[in-house]
Structure formats: C-alpha cells, structure tokens
C-alpha cells in the first residue's frame, strides 16, 4: 500500500522544458503565479491559458496527467467556485430561489476563481513534472545563494532537502517491513475506529524512528569520511548554465505574460 506514494512527480524527458536551467523554470513559474494574480479580465486569462497549456504541450506532458494533479484540490476549487457563484451580491440577477441568487457578477467571479486555481496548479505542476528533485534543490540553492551573505544556512537547507528525498524510498520500504513484522505477530491496522487505528500505529512509529536516527548517525559518519564539511570549498559535478534554450523561454514568457498584463491594463 505504501508503494503507491510518489513524490516529486518527476517525469523524465528531453523536451525544451526539461532541458532549461531549473533556475529559469523556478523564476518562470513565479512569474506565471504573479501574472495570474495581477490579471482578472477574460482576454488576459485567455492569453495566459494559451501560454500555460502551450508549455504543457511543449513538455509533452499528457493533459490527463496534469488534470489528475487537480484532484486533491477539487474540493477546494468546487467549494470556492460555488460560494462565489451564489454569494456575490449584484444587481444583474439571473436566478433566484429564496435567499440565494446567482448574479452576473457572481458568474464572472466564480469563473475567474476556478480558472485562476486551475491555471495555478497546472503552472506549478509544470515545474515539478519536468524537473528532477535534485535539479530543483540545486536550482533553489543557487537562486537563494545571495542570502548566504546574511548567514542564512541555504546550503544546509538544500542538503537536508536532497537527503530527505534520498531517504524517502528507504524509509517507506522500512515502514512496509515493520508493518509486515507487526502483522505477523497479530497486529491489526485496518479495523476499529480512528483512535484505535492511530494507536495501532505507535508500534510502527517507534522502531521507525529508532532506525531513522541510527541511519542518520551512520550517514553523518559516512559523509564525514567523504570529506563533507559544509559549503566551504565545494564544487559541483553539474554546473548550472543559462543557455539559448533559457533565452527562448524567457522571451516567450515576456511575450505572453507581458501581453496578458498589457491586455489587463488596457482593456
């Protein structure tokens, strides 16, 4: 049952979006998010939608996969959509039943909110689908590296993130093993009420934590043996470089996102 957990949701490929520098991608997604919040008119949103779904097409991601990413947030999308639809006050009443009414303004606002959330998630998933976790942490580390001057532990945070990613599959496997061991001795994780089930998890968590600490200790020793001493004098195998692909993406972003904002302001 734990095998189904996928993290990072990375889909390897060799498209333009896969090739560009992770820093470009992070900045791109941030720009998309800003544009989505700045814009609110239909024409601007049309441009943004064309741009975002265009990028998804360029990355050769299946639309179904991207839409599946919406699933966990479906409740929130529907909830905010419905609330806006029924509770926006306005003069232009389209339909009324008792104290609830649908106004033209409500329809517009609901459509905007739903479009904004869908495009936000699609845009953000573009980053996680096309960037491997290690590239993502690398990109974040480089982007945030100016903050090192303020003595913020940026390198340490990035290292922790990548180690956490490295150990997720190991710990998932271990949890599976512990659960099987407890089941073999008659533990029951699947019945009873919530409290009962939560209590049944304690015999899993305790050995899991003990072993995680032991692993952390051994890992720290192994890292020291391989001369790890933090950020000082460290080089990297993979150098991040902005190239022609990045320039193309940046130009497209300026064109579309700038275009959308201009439309928003002018129209």
């Amino acid at each position: 049952m734990l095998k189904d957990i996928t993290l990072g949701q990375y889909f390897p490929g060799n498209t333009l979006m896969h090739r560009i520098d992770p820093r470009t991608k992070i900045l791109l997604v941030m720009a998309i998010i800003v544009a989505l919040f700045v814009c609110s008119s239909a024409p601007a949103y049309l441009v943004l939608a064309v741009y975002i779904f265009g990028l998804i097409a360029v990355s050769k991601l299946s639309l179904r996969m991207v839409l599946r990413g919406l699933k966990p947030l479906l409740v929130i999308i529907v909830f905010t959509g419905v609330l806006n639809l029924f509770l926006t006050p306005g003069d232009d009443i389209l339909w009324r039943a008792g104290f609830v009414s649908i106004t033209m303004a409500g329809v517009q606002k609901a459509a905007l909110i739903v479009a904004r959330l869908v495009l936000l998630i699609a845009g953000a998933s573009l980053l996680t689908y096309t960037t491997s976790p290690i590239q993502l942490t690398d990109g974040l580390e480089r982007l945030l590296s100016p903050l090192k001057k303020l003595h913020l532990p940026i390198h340490e945070l990035a290292m922790m993130m990548s180690l956490a990613l490295r150990f997720i599959p190991t710990l998932v496997e271990e949890t599976d093993k512990i659960m099987s061991a407890q089941r073999a001795r008659g533990a029951d994780f699947d019945s009873g009420n919530l409290l009962h089930r939560a209590k049944a998890l304690i015999p899993i968590l305790v050995p899991l934590f003990v072993s995680a600490f032991r692993r952390a200790d051994e890992l720290a020793t192994a890292m020291e043996c391989r001369l790890y001493r933090g950020d000082t004098g460290r080089t990297r195998l993979r150098q991040l470089k902005f190239g022609r692909d990045d320039a193309v993406c940046a130009a497209a972003a300026v064109l579309f996102l700038g275009g959308a904002i201009v439309l928003q302001v002018l129209v």
């Binding site: 976790p133 990548s162 490295r166 692993r215 020793t221 890292m223 004098g233 990297r236 195998l237 150098q239």
Partner: protein, 285 residues
C-alpha cells in the same frame, strides 16, 4: 619510510549507557604496509570495527597512537589529509549513499574536495567503470541490488583516489552473488591500482583471499600471518568462535579418520581437490 597504517599499543575505551567503561581495543600493535590486502577477522564484539574506525580518525585512540600514511590521527588539523589518504566503506550501503542519482553520489566526495567539474566528471566515469557500474550512472540508487549499491559506495571512495580503503564488513548484508561481485572489485582495485585494502569481515572464504590475516579477540591481536599460516590452526580458530575453511576441515577429518597424512593447508576448493586427487591416485598405486 612510513607505513600505510601503523597502530602502536592502540587502546580504545568507551562508556555505555549504564556508565560502564569497556575496553574495545587493548594494546593492539598492527602495521599494514602500503599495497597490502589485509583481512581482519574476529567475532562480534572483538573490536574489529573499532579498529577500522581508528584507521581514519572517526574514532581516536584512548591510548597509544595510530599513524595513517605517516600522520598521527590525534592531530585535528590533519584530519582531512588522513581521511583523504584512507577512505572507508561501511556495512549498510543504504546509509552511506547521499544522492538520488548514482553519478551524483560518486561525485559527492570530489565535490567536497573542491575538484573542478571537468575533473570530477572524468574521475566519476573512471571509478564507475572500475567497479563495473558505468551503465547505471543515471539510475536511482534505491532501485539497485545490495551488491550494486555497495559497488557504488566503493566507487564513491575510489573516485577520491585514496591510498587505502578500509571496508567494515562490506558484504555482511549481501547475497552470495553480491558478495562475489564486491570481492572481485576489491581484488581489481588492489591489483590494478595498488590500493591498500583492509577488509574487516567474518567470512572465512573472503579472508582466505587476502595476503594477510589478523585475528582480533576481546580487543587483543591474537593471530597475525598469511592465510596459510592462520587457517591450519583449526582448534585455535574454533576457540575464537571462527571456523576454518571447509577444505581444511575436510582434510583434517580425513587425516583423523583415515590417517591420510595430508597437508591440511588447502585454502581453496581447487587446492583441496588437487590434494585429494593426488592422495586417491597415490592410494591406488
């Protein structure tokens, strides 16, 4: 001339949770010259892992001293030179792999050393070829078998070009196939690169392949010699909780039961077969 590892009267004390002091190593004198393939044997708690940890300053002696590549491990400012000269591979491959991609993991040590990226790439490729894992360079380590992971861990230290690699029971968690692969790689490193190998193990068949065997028991160095000298002492080994290779046991049993009068120092199956063949032919003639 200095030796690769030189332990002089090495003593190591530690205190457990109940504040009892234990003596893990008690006056061990052991010198491993450059280029030797040495195996260190001993049962659990004999101090063999503690000895390994003293070889690259993860543990520091409570008494006596350890010289690694001529440097005393008690000098805190030389600790990185010591660890560069003498790398270590641990028992559990999962707990020493740091990256989510094989080649990134092999590069980790070199990145820490501040090697230029182009040189990192060259050394990573070479190390992966040495351990026969080059075609896996873009794989995720958690999807590899135990033996493959351990070879990645060896490539990770090999890329740092150490003079000596200390391995603390590297095959204890592996299946027979994985063990054979790891041993093959160790012999290759020893023969082709001239790297000093210190193999901590409790597998007799692995120790047999070494040039020298040292046996620890309760923190003392009990036996030290070539495998041929050590493994014929079956009674002594047995009293230390170790068993002689099956080939030696078989020849001894034949000597005892059939007064075969065989030389018992056959360490491999092939040697044993040769002896038996000669004996059987001689018997018929």
């Amino acid at each position: 001339m200095s030796e690769m590892i030189q332990a002089e009267n090495l003593t190591f004390r530690y205190t457990d949770f109940s504040h009892t002091t234990h003596l893990a190593l008690d006056g061990v004198n052991l010198t491993i010259p450059y280029g030797q393939f040495a195996a260190i044997l001993g049962r659990n708690g004999s101090g063999k892992s503690t000895f390994a940890k003293n070889c690259n300053a993860i543990a520091l002696p409570s008494g006596g001293r350890v010289l690694v590549d001529g440097i005393d491990t008690m000098q805190p400012d030389r600790i990185w030179d010591i660890r560069r000269a003498c790398s270590m591979v641990f028992q559990n491959p999962d707990n020493q792999i740091v990256a989510t991609v094989v080649e990134e993991d092999v590069a980790f040590g070199l990145e820490n050393m501040g090697v230029p990226p182009k040189e990192i790439r060259r050394r990573v490729n070479e190390a992966l070829r040495m351990v026969g894992m080059y075609e896996y360079c873009m794989h995720a380590p958690h999807l590899l078998s135990g033996g493959q992971k351990q070879r990645i861990a060896i490539a990770g230290v090999l890329a740092m070009e150490p003079k000596c690699i200390v391995l603390d029971e590297p095959t204890a968690m592996l299946d027979p196939r994985g063990r054979a692969d790891v041993m093959h790689v160790l012999h290759r490193l020893h023969e082709e690169k001239g790297i000093t190998i210190v193999l901590i193990t409790h597998h007799m068949d692995e120790a047999v392949q070494a040039q020298r065997v040292a046996v620890l028991e309760a923190g003392h160095l009990i036996l030290d010699g070539t495998p041929r000298e050590i493994f014929v002492q079956t009674a002594k080994l047995h009293s230390l909780g170790l068993t002689a290779p099956q080939s030696v046991q078989l020849l001894e049993a034949l000597n005892a039961r059939a007064q075969a009068g065989l030389e018992t120092d056959a360490l491999t199956v092939e040697e044993c077969a040769d002896r038996l063949e000669a004996w059987l032919k001689g018997g018929r003639a």
